[in-house]
Structures are given as structure tokens and as C-alpha cells.
């Protein structure tokens, strides 16, 4: 089904999305899939054929999702983007979606390059990472997770397309989270950025992969299993009664403390480690619909009668203008 290169990380993300949607049992037509432009942004074309899909223009998917969500907040929104799509051309819209705490899952299939335009460095390319032809990138990377934390966002996770075990529950948690859930998925580009010297290759990622905090999604009905022991397990209750159970792999990591999380992420960056897991979550922040006191009936389907004040009111109103 996919038209990506054989072995492309993005296809594994598609697989994880399919599995998560299946496990959550979301009716496909109650989900909307959006994207920008890029190999990564083709992802929505490869899963849930019975969901509406929206492949927008390059870097501007967040605004489309914002409008769609304003019109109909009752759907689950999944956005899939690339590092170019999000962190270069899309940086402005991405940051403002974070700020609005738009209720959606936003996945960045991060490969450190522009795949579709054949391998230029993207803004997530690490300092010193080598291009296929050998040039080393000389600018610091933009790390979407740090950006989310600096902006006061509500959900930042990182994962790896090669680790479905970690990724699937993260996707479920992101879908269940009320607010803007960002998952930065390292998703190697086998064609343009999987060579020696690249810091976004399969090998480099596996070698420097450091899970810090594991997140399990527990549906509303289900009890939290006792197997987590108190010290390391931390259930975060979601709005619908479901839970995300955070399990510390790194003893010192606290995914509910913004500054501490940032410090850890920056430390890992300095150490050349790829720190992964649900790096930060704050379930208490209101999302866009709440902030705007939007009605439970979607605006898109609200009856016209509720919207039009009618002629009498119009006549009364016009007295102001006389």
C-alpha cells in the first residue's frame, strides 16, 4: 500500500498507528488524519481508509487541524508530519498549535533530512551529523520536545520507529490525552540518511537509544494492574477516566516536572543520547475547545436555528445605528 522506500522508518510508524487505532477501537470515521507535505506526510494515505484524510500544504497542517477542530471537536485528530514540515517551514504553526494546546496527536516522523526532496539537512539534523556525500551539519538541531517544554506545552514524547513496544502505547496515550500531544519519532530515512556518520540512522539510534520513562495506556474500564510497584509507577488520570501509567526506567526522571525534564533532555543531548519515552505530561492544561468554551454539539453540525438571531433581533439591533 505504501509508496515509500522499502525499509523507511515511516512505514513502521504507520504500522504502530494502525495497531494503536485498532487496540483503542476508535471507529475510523470518527478519526481525521492530517498532514503536510513530505514522505512522512504521505503516511495518512496508508492507514484507516475509512477516515477522512487531509494532505495539506507544506508546513501548514497545524492551522488546518485547528480550523477542523474548531468546527468539530468531537473527532480524534491525528497529524503526521516530518522534521522539515514541522521544524523548518512549519515552525511557526507548530509552536502556535502547542500554545493553543490543540487537542490532537501530532507525530513527527523525524529523520533529520528532507526525504522527498532528496536528502537536504533538516532543522533537526544534529550538529556534526554527516550527509550522504560527507558534509557535516554545522547548526544545532531544533528538538521538538524541548520546544514543547519551553513553550509550556502539555505532552512531549520521543520514540523510535524501530521500537513498536514503546511507540504503540505512546500513540494511545497521545490520542487519549486532552491537548496537543507531540511524539517525536526518530524514523530513519534509509535512502538519504541511514549511513555511517548520520545520527539519525537505524544503527546510531539503536546504539544511543535511551528509554527514560515508559508509558502504558489503560482504558477507562480497566484496573491498573498491580505489577507496577509504587516507587516507579505513576498513573496519570485522563479526562475520560482512562489512565496513562508512567513507569520510570530512569530512576531520576520526572515527567511531570517541566524544568527537570528539560534539564534531563538537554543533558542527554549533550551526552549524545537519544532519550525516549513520555518525556513530559501535564493533563491539567485546558485545550483549545475548553479555553474557548466551545459547545458539545460541534459547530459544523449545529442547526442553523441556533445560530441565526432572526429578523426581530436585527431590527432591534439597528436602533443602535440610528
Amino acid at each position: 500500500m505504501s509508496t515509500l522506500c522499502a525499509g523507511c522508518g515511516h512505514d513502521s510508524v504507520t504500522g504502530a498507528l494502525v495497531q494503536a487505532a485498532f487496540e483503542l477501537d476508535i471507529p475510523p470515521h470518527r478519526m481525521a488524519k492530517l498532514s503536510g507535505i513530505g514522505c512522512s506526510s504521505k503516511t495518512p494515505a496508508y492507514f484507516l481508509r475509512q477516515s477522512h484524510g487531509f494532505n495539506s500544504v507544506h508546513g501548514r497542517m497545524p492551522s488546518v487541524a485547528t480550523g477542523a477542530n474548531a468546527a468539530n471537536g468531537s473527532l480524534s485528530y491525528v497529524g503526521v508530519s516530518g522534521d522539515g514540515d514541522t521544524l523548518s517551514i512549519g515552525m511557526g504553526q507548530f509552536t502556535h498549535a502547542v500554545r493553543r494546546n490543540l487537542n490532537m496527536l501530532y507525530i513527527i516522523e523525524n529523520n533529520g533530512v528532507y526525504g522527498l526532496t532528496k536528502g537536504q539537512f533538516s532543522a533537526s539534523a544534529d550538529l556534526g551529523s554527516k550527509a550522504k556525500k560527507g558534509d557535516a551539519n554545522q547548526q544545532p538541531p531544533i528538538d521538538p520536545c524541548q520546544v514543547v517544554l519551553a513553550l509550556g506545552g502539555s505532552f512531549a514524547a520521543r520514540s523510535f520507529s524501530g521500537d513498536k513496544q514503546q511507540l504503540v502505547p505512546l500513540i494511545k496515550a497521545g490520542l487519549a490525552h486532552r491537548g496537543f500531544a507531540v511524539i517525536d519519532v526518530i524514523s530513519p530515512c534509509v535512502t538519504f540518511n541511514d549511513h555511517e556518520g548520520s545520527t539519525k540512522s537505524y544503527k546510531f539510534t539503536r546504539d544511543h537509544y535511551h528509554p527514560a520513562i515508559h508509558a502504558d495506556y489503560v482504558p477507562p474500564s480497566q484496573e491498573i494492574l498491580a505489577e507496577y510497584d509504587e516507587g516507579s509507577a505513576m498513573p496519570v488520570e485522563l479526562h475520560d477516566g482512562s489512565k496513562i501509567v508512567l513507569r520510570k526506567i530512569d530512576e531520576y526522571y520526572d515527567p511531570t516536572d517541566r524544568s527537570a525534564a528539560l534539564t534531563q533532555i538537554q543533558q542527554a543531548q549533550t551526552d549524545g543520547e537519544i532519550i525516549t519515552g513520555l518525556l513530559y505530561i501535564d493533563e491539567s492544561k485546558p485545550e483549545m475547545q475548553e479555553i474557548n468554551r466551545m459547545p458539545s454539539v460541534p459547530l459544523a453540525t449545529m442547526s442553523y436555528e441556533k445560530l441565526c438571531p432572526g429578523n426581530d433581533k436585527l431590527q432591534a439591533l439597528q436602533d443602535r445605528f440610528r
Partner: protein, 603 residues
């Protein structure tokens, strides 16, 4: 073609410094004429700045109901020392200049052919009012009183207005009233009152309101059932969303739940605002974004996307003076071409051209209907003159039987019944396909993309499949001609000279035609209300030997659209262009046409 002032036919202009609170005084003055039953328009010339720069307010009182600038100042209230010289020069011979005689006037600034009326406004206000702020404000109210004295305004009307405005604050009403009287009494005592031209109460404003176009546009959006408004602030469109917000707070908050039956999103920029309305339109909401020239430039990519993917959305361009940042507080009609063909590739957009606030109201509703019927972005082009100035308009009426035309949307039931849904199929032969909304039914799912797609909605790079889609889009353009509003025409077979105009140039054209008629030059008139052009446009072009196309831009943009999208021959079309940022007045048209007629006669 400058005439003399007469009763109910004169122009008062107030020169002031912005940020000194003259707006409410000027509004009071406007309202007084209006409530006396005399037609009036007000035009505000303000700087792109918040405080301290020159600003003017021009009130044209016109028993005939003319709406354009008169191009003449009969009474100048010169409150700004910095522009005094310029203001003095602008007074028509025989006119009056009012100044604050608290301070002596420079001797060098002098004219023999006008009358100067000094009033010690500051002095009087300093004597009568305590706080610094009230002294500044009351100076403005006092000149209103002086004008009332000079032009014989109805003091009762003024008093009632003040009471109404300050219903909750009686002491303010009194203070204002006192200021009015200061000015009034001073001129009555010191000058011969009234002036040779005066305000005579009439009954020509009943069933009318005073309103600006942006407020009217917002009302239109409200009544159209628009629910999602996304925008980024930009002069002169900002007040559209301000007004919409005000109306929504009043009429759209659920009294039971306190929930907002609307969403207003202040976007991070215009690209985002465009994306938001497309997202909302795709989801099934009526969505709109008001903006101005620079915003349109930034929305280009999304406009092309909306065209190609066939998503309804309403864009409102309150045009200002370009190019680039240009003069943000001056008017022009110069975004016509860039809106008509916005975005790379073969694109074309439906445009609406309201001429006044009344049409802003009704056309805003039409814009939503058209966008959904045609499944495409619709751009309504107003301008600063319409949008931010104060116009007299016939009362807006709402037909409670109105139902929004949502176009071809398949609902749950229909989807259940059909075999399979294909997004871009021309099943009805009108080049308009069916669409579905997300969340309604699994069978409705399709994939929206700005890349090549075929009639089933699938991705394609096939030459034939691709062409099928763009050919249908072109046919849809033909369909659009049957949906867009018809022109407005005044036609008599005896005349071979036509005038075509649109939008805010209408008032000047109407006045010019009267003037020309009086001078023995008969013309027909067609006002274009929409693009694509309806068949009447071609007929009108065919029926005339020469057609003047009057517009407010340098490059003759509507003229250009006529050349491209009708079969008119170039020699017949004569552009009359006005583009210095001030609203056009009749003289520009009258002078040009009568000159050419003279030439023809002489030849």
C-alpha cells in the same frame, strides 16, 4: 465641476490630532444631521499611528443622498496647528474656517476669499471644566456646538443624543451639553448665524441606519450562520472581527450552558488564518477570514489549495492602498487582479464586490452560500472606504425563511444508501461534485490533497486523469456564472456611452452621471457585483460604443478582467483611474468624460 454649497448640501471637515478623542464628537455631529432627516456620509482620514498625528473627519451633508466625497470643503474646523496651512488652502472659495482663537493665528496664514471664525475653544473649556482630559475632550464637543449654531442644527436632537449616549452617566451628559452650549452660544453671539447654507430638517433618513461596512459584513456573517472566524489583525479589516465578536457575545452564547456557539481564533498570521478556515470548511462549518492586501498575498498558497481541492471558505479582503504595506489607512481597489487569479498554476476565484454596507451585509450571506454551492473559496472585496467609514444605508431586513444553501453534501442517510462515494465525480453534469463531512459515516471517507488526483479522489500522476479534473474545474467556472449575483444596471437605448464600475466607486459614478446628465451628456451604467461576469456584462459591453471603466487603482484592474473574461474589444474600454488613497469623487469622472465628449464634439 465644483458647485456652491446650499442648504443640506455642504461639507464640513474637521482637522484634528489623533488620540485626542474627537471621534465621539464627530459621531455626534454626524448623528445630528442624520436624526434631522438629512442624508449624510462621514469619511475618516486617519494616520497609521495611534497618537499624535493629523487626522481628519469629513462630513458630507447631501439632501440628494450622494455618497461620495464632495471634493469640496465648505466648513473647515482647523483644530490641528500642524496642518493649519494645508487645511486653510483646502477650503472652497466662499467657505468658512473655524479655528481655536485661544491662541492668535499666524498672520501669514491668510485668505481673502473665505470667512474665518475664531472661537476660544480651549479658553472656554479651561474655564468650565476641571480635569485635563475633560478639557481636551470638551473642546471637541464645543466645536460641535459651534457648528450647530452656524448651521442651525436642532439642539434638541443633540441633547437627546447625549442623553442616550450617556444614559448611565448623567454627569457626562450634562458636561457634554454644557460644552455644546459654549460653542453654540459663542457663535450665536459673535457671528452672523446661521450661515448662508444650513441644515434644514427633512425626512430622508427614516428606515435608514448609519453604519460602516465592516460592521455590516460582520452582521452578514452572523446571519449567514458562520461559526468559525479565523483572522490576524490588519487595518482596515480588524473591525470586522471586532464586530463579529461583539455580535456573537450578544447572540451566540448559549443562555443555559454559557457555551459559545462560535469560535473566533486569532491566528499567528494570515497563512494560518487561511488554513484554519479551510480546515473548518472541510469539516462542514461556515468559516471566514477577514484580511487586507498583505494578508491576501500571504494566503496565496492556501487559496490555490482551496480552489484545487474544492473546499468552501469565505475570504474578506478589505482593500487598502498598496503595493506592499502601502498606506494602511488609505483606500484603493487594487487587489482585484491578485484575488481573481490568486496562487500559482491555473487558478481563478469567485469574487464579490459590495458597493456599500448594505451590500456587505447581504453579500456576506451570499458569499457563504456560493462557497458551499460551488465548493470553492469565495473572496468578498470591500475596501477601507466602505469598511471603516460611516454610511447611510436602508434598514437591513432578514428573511426568516432563509435556509443556508449548503450545496451538495451527502449526509449519513444518503451515504448509507449509496454503493460507493467518489469525491470528484461530476454526476450532475454541472461540474460540481458531491462532498461529505468527516465523522458522518465510514462510507464518506475520502482523501483531500492538493496534489494530482482523479475523479475518484485517488492520487494520480496520469496526464489524462489530471486533466479531467482541471477541465471540470474550468467548467465549474461556467456554472458559477449562474450562481453569482447579477449586475445592477441603468440602461436606456438612446445612449451609446456606458460606464462600468464596482464597489465603492459606485457613489461617485452615480453623482457624476447626474452631473453629466445636467450637462447634456447621457450615459448608461452597469455595476459589476461579481466575478465571473454574468452574461449581462457582455450584453452591456456589446450595446455601447465606448465604455468608461471607473476604478480606484493605477493599473485598471477590473478593466483588465473585462478584457480577459469577456469578448469586448480593447478600444471600447476607457479606464478612469483614481488611486491616490483618498476615496474617489464625482469630479474625476465628470471632468474626464465631459472633456472627452467635448473633444468628440470638437472633432
Amino acid at each position: 465641476m465644483s458647485t456652491r454649497p446650499g442648504n443640506n448640501d455642504f461639507t464640513v471637515k474637521i482637522a484634528n490630532v489623533n488620540g485626542t478623542g474627537s471621534a465621539s464628537a464627530n459621531a455626534l455631529l454626524m448623528k445630528t444631521f442624520f436624526r434631522m432627516g438629512i442624508p449624510v456620509v462621514g469619511k475618516n482620514y486617519f494616520p497609521s499611528n495611534i497618537q499624535g498625528l493629523p487626522t481628519w473627519y469629513e462630513i458630507r451633508v447631501s439632501g440628494e443622498g450622494y455618497l461620495a466625497r464632495s471634493g469640496r470643503v465648505d466648513v473647515m474646523v482647523a483644530m490641528n496647528a500642524e496642518t493649519y496651512q494645508k487645511d486653510l488652502e483646502e477650503v472652497a472659495p466662499g467657505g468658512y474656517l473655524i479655528y481655536d482663537s485661544t491662541w492668535p493665528r499666524a498672520k501669514t496664514l491668510h485668505r481673502d476669499d473665505i470667512s474665518v471664525i475664531g472661537i476660544p475653544l480651549a479658553k472656554m473649556c479651561n474655564e468650565h471644566f476641571d480635569t485635563a482630559r475633560s478639557r481636551v475632550l470638551m473642546k471637541n464637543v464645543a466645536y460641535v456646538g459651534a457648528i450647530a449654531g452656524l448651521l442651525d442644527l436642532d439642539l434638541d436632537v443633540i441633547r437627546d443624543s447625549l442623553r442616550q449616549t450617556f444614559a448611565a452617566k448623567a454627569h457626562l451628559a450634562d458636561a457634554n451639553q454644557q460644552a455644546i452650549e459654549l460653542g453654540y452660544n459663542y457663535v450665536r453671539e459673535n457671528y452672523q448665524c446661521p450661515l448662508p447654507f444650513q441644515a434644514i430638517a427633512d425626512n430622508k433618513t427614516s428606515d435608514h441606519v448609519m453604519i460602516d461596512g465592516n460592521t455590516a459584513t460582520a452582521l452578514g456573517c452572523l446571519y449567514a450562520g458562520a461559526t468559525v472566524g479565523a483572522w490576524y489583525p490588519i487595518t482596515p479589516s480588524t473591525s470586522v472581527m471586532d464586530a463579529f465578536k461583539g455580535f456573537c457575545e450578544k447572540y451566540r452564547v448559549d443562555p443555559d450552558t454559557g457555551e459559545n456557539n462560535y469560535a473566533i481564533i486569532q491566528a499567528e498570521d494570515e497563512l494560518a488564518a487561511a488554513g484554519m478556515v479551510l480546515g473548518a470548511g472541510w469539516s462542514g462549518a461556515r468559516a471566514f477570514t477577514p484580511t487586507s492586501g498583505p494578508g491576501i498575498s500571504l494566503m496565496n498558497e492556501f487559496l490555490g489549495y482551496g480552489y484545487f481541492t474544492e473546499i468552501p471558505a469565505v475570504f474578506i479582503d478589505v482593500q487598502r492602498c498598496g503595493p506592499s504595506t502601502g498606506m494602511p489607512t488609505r483606500t484603493q481597489q487594487a487587489d482585484v487582479m491578485s484575488c481573481a487569479y490568486a496562487s500559482h498554476g491555473d487558478t481563478r476565484h469567485v469574487l464579490l464586490f459590495p458597493a456599500n454596507p448594505e451590500e456587505c451585509f447581504y453579500m456576506a450571506v451570499q458569499a457563504f452560500d456560493l462557497a458551499e454551492q460551488l465548493q470553492t473559496p469565495v473572496i468578498m472585496l470591500t475596501d477601507l472606504d466602505i469598511g471603516m467609514n460611516d454610511w447611510m444605508a436602508a434598514d437591513f431586513k432578514w428573511d426568516d425563511a432563509y435556509k443556508p444553501s449548503r450545496g451538495k453534501v451527502l449526509g449519513e442517510k444518503e451515504l448509507q444508501e449509496i454503493e460507493q462515494f467518489h469525491r470528484y465525480l461530476d454526476s450532475d453534469g454541472d461540474a460540481i461534485p458531491y462532498r461529505t463531512l468527516p465523522g458522518v459515516h465510514p462510507k464518506g471517507a475520502y482523501f483531500t490533497r492538493g496534489s494530482g488526483h482523479n475523479m475518484y479522489g485517488a492520487y494520480t500522476e496520469d496526464a489524462g486523469e489530471y486533466q479531467e479534473i482541471v477541465d471540470r474545474l474550468r467548467r465549474k467556472w461556467e456554472t458559477a456564472k449562474c450562481y453569482v449575483p447579477q449586475v445592477e444596471q441603468e440602461y436606456s437605448e438612446q445612449y451609446r456611452t456606458g460606464i462600468i464600475a464596482y464597489g465603492s466607486s459606485d457613489g461617485a459614478v452615480r453623482e457624476a452621471r447626474d452631473q453629466l446628465h445636467k450637462a447634456g451628456v447621457g450615459t448608461n451604467y452597469l455595476r459589476v457585483k461579481a466575478f465571473p461576469f454574468t452574461d449581462d456584462v457582455q450584453e452591456f459591453l456589446d450595446a455601447h460604443d465606448r465604455i468608461y471603466v471607473v476604478e480606484q487603482n493605477r493599473d485598471a484592474q477590473l478593466h483588465n478582467l473585462l478584457l480577459l473574461e469577456t469578448r469586448v474589444s480593447q478600444e471600447k474600454l476607457i479606464p478612469i483611474l483614481h488611486y491616490n488613497g483618498l476615496p474617489i469623487n464625482a469630479a474625476v469622472i465628470t471632468d474626464r468624460i465631459s472633456q472627452e465628449v467635448d473633444k468628440v464634439v470638437a472633432a
